[in-house]
Assembly symmetry: C2
Homo-oligomer: 435 residues x 2
């Protein structure tokens, strides 16, 4: 090893633009003007962590590449941090595709639910599925997501609605994490809906979640987060507060589905509770958004759901004007947005929110990492951070979003390992630096 050189065992050279999103601390509030772009950039890593970034022409002098390691050539394409999908419900069985023809012909969700369809059909199918079936269904979705450049995915339980089936779902997530390469952030959403056994007895259900389910899930260490579907007619503000406070007392951090269909004040509650994120926020009040900003609660927006259910776009520009760090996520779920294409949420954000591309990029990388509690090690290409990165087809970050519905990723690295290469392509090796 040459003296003074950094020992590394992986290197990617000649990114036309290496978009690092590095520097400083915390999420990036407001519109992002400095994405830390390095022209003709290079990134080197040791084990699973980034060891060095800089200009490609400086790599040789700076680095000592381990024998047998690969140096890859990005051939001038753009490289961005691995994307983080901060809000999904992708662990489920069954399909609800057939609901759409009816719903778009005017049959109401309530009528569909009254027939035992809607969310309860997903609950039924998910309860019936054995863990291996659930694992295969979820990993197929995670693989499609990975192929779109997504290296970390928050996944909520919430289609079990009994302690046993919620734990089954969370255990499947733990297993997926062990197997890799997918990195899943597990969230306990036992409060997704009142379980069918408690129909008409919401207070009993809330008591059950508070007294028995939260302590057990916390004891088993199966979830990073606790989340509630706080919405008029589902869990009211006081229910949500009670459950979230119980979760916090057991060491679970809190997220909240807030103000999606009504201005109930969920955003303000999330801020008051010190929640890590408040999600949806279509009807959030400006004063509640200000509380979120002041308290450090991150807004997670789900434009795919707005589109498909015909809801208004969330007030993203208001949030950006306030300096909030806006996050974009898929909400991947069988009822309102069965979508695994996180870059497409950026497309919708450009279009519906009029969000500039670099701001959208921060919303699916650095800021999203903070929304899942991992902003200290994910979402950037920066020494010390995990080497999760995507080699894009396009030359610029905007290309990730404006080529709507494209297959934007040529290659994906997760924890320093090349875990995906698009069929028919190969990331060529580069002459080694340091030789």
């Amino acid at each position: 090893m040459a003296p003074g050189r950094i020992p590394v065992d992986g290197l990617l050279l000649h990114a036309g633009k290496l978009v690092t999103l590095a520097g400083g601390s915390g999420p990036l509030g407001g519109r992002v003007s400095d994405a830390g772009v390095i022209e003709d950039g290079a990134v080197a890593w040791a084990g699973s962590r980034v060891a060095w970034t800089g200009a490609s022409r400086e790599a040789e002098a700076a680095l000592d590449l381990a024998p047998g390691a690969f140096a890859h050539d990005a051939e001038g394409r753009c490289v961005v941090p691995g994307l983080v999908d901060a809000h999904t419900h992708l662990l489920y069985a069954g399909s609800r595709e057939d609901e759409w023809e009816e719903r778009l012909r005017g049959v109401t969700y309530a009528e569909i639910a009254a027939r035992g369809e809607g969310i309860l059909s997903t609950v039924r199918a998910t309860r019936e599925a054995d863990p291996e079936t659930l694992r295969l269904l979820a990993t197929a979705r995670l693989q499609r997501s990975l192929e779109n450049g997504v290296t970390t995915v928050e996944v909520k339980s919430g289609y079990g609605l009994t302690l046993e089936s919620e734990i089954k779902s969370l255990q499947v997530l733990a297993r997926i994490n062990l197997d890799g390469p997918y990195e899943v952030v597990p969230t306990f959403l036992g409060a997704h809906e009142v379980g069918p056994e408690f129909r008409g007895r919401r207070p009993d259900y809330v008591r059950e979640v508070v007294r028995n389910w939260i302590p057990e899930v916390a004891r088993l260490g199966l979830a990073d987060f606790f989340d509630v579907f706080c919405e008029k007619g589902v869990f009211e503000l006081e229910d949500s507060r009670e459950m979230c406070e119980a979760a916090a007392s057991h060491g679970l951090r809190v997220k909240l589905h807030a103000d999606e269909f009504f201005a109930l004040g969920g955003a303000g509650l999330a801020a008051e509770l010190g929640a890590v994120s408040a999600d949806h926020l279509i009807c959030a009040r400006t004063e509640d958004l200000e509380k979120m900003r002041d308290g450090g609660t991150i807004p997670v927006l789900l434009p795919g759901t707005s589109l498909l259910v015909g809801a208004p776009w969330a007030p993203a520009s208001v949030m950006l004007d306030m300096g909030l760090p806006v996050v974009l996520a898929t909400d991947c779920n069988p009822g309102t947005c069965p979508c695994e294409h996180l870059p497409l949420m950026g497309s919708l954000a450009l279009g519906g929110y009029r969000m500039p591309p670099l701001t959208a990029l921060a919303g699916v990388t650095r800021n999203a990492a903070f929304a899942v509690g991992r902003g200290d090690r994910l979402g950037r290409i920066e020494p010390g951070f995990q080497m999760d990165a995507v080699l894009l087809e396009e030359d610029s970050p905007a290309g990730l979003f404006v080529h709507m519905g494209s297959r934007p990723a040529r290659a994906v690295w997760k924890r320093g390992r090349l875990v995906y290469q698009k069929e028919g392509t190969r990331v060529p090796e580069s002459p080694r630096a340091g030789r």
Copy 2:
């Protein structure tokens, strides 16, 4: 050959739903309730044409499969007609990705154009590109489109804006058609914008198009359609009328970019001229839409462009209520919607237009075929029609749209040939019928 049996040389059995869109004549107006679905359906073909459709269990008795021919098994998945993208500008060189950060930060299109960027940068790059480069760029886009299930694509010239470069573009399209498997419908859009050599001299440009370009393009037989960007400040109504009438007198059928940003009355003009389609129509007046319906001019809607440029959704529900046959297309172009994902336009239609899935499906198949003048042989799975079909990943037509940005096609047939199979999958052979 068994007596009374239909001789065929290809067969696809066991489509869970074979969505034929067959029967009757003409496009399907209004909301579609009968998509001609055959449960456990089969389709057989001879050469490039469909020879028979029916229930799988009836195939053996009905058909005589040629020796050496394949019988494929859809394994219960949904099969739909090959999709038709009825409005694209996908023949171009250069990239304008970098404009988006500026535009979404408030720099106007006029300011960008004043620097020689915007459409003129595409014109410059397209003029400079040799035919082989243009062919490769276009076929890469057509291949991505094919992999999304699109078997026919209308492509406009219009980034040359000199007779020579417009002819170069149209000749590239002719070459692509000869090579296959892509089926391209060529449209002459010399009136996309006033060419830079005629800046400030629009009447001279219009005269040039009328007197010299239209006759020459028609003489060479390079275009099915003539199209004009009829818009305030580009080509006014009277310019458009003059050019379209000249085109019609030379045997070219007419399409019109109409009422995208202003209610200029382009939709009414299109109806008056007997245009095959009027496209965009965001600001179209109801009385003009009625004229279109009465005259048989088909509305082609481009929701991807509405989304990305931040324009309103076109009044699709009004059109459907009137009984118009609504078509959805990508508008694939470098400036406002660089998208090759036609099924995603269905997603946007479900969301933005509140269009039911079967209606969206007709809008990208049967009705789209009529919008490109090929409704007599494309857009349906029906005896006598071309065997263009898509084996979907999903079990229902809604799946094509609600899994937003997914890779919906497992396999694609064009003119009876299997031209695409998704990597890692194989359409299994089925025990032969008739043996």
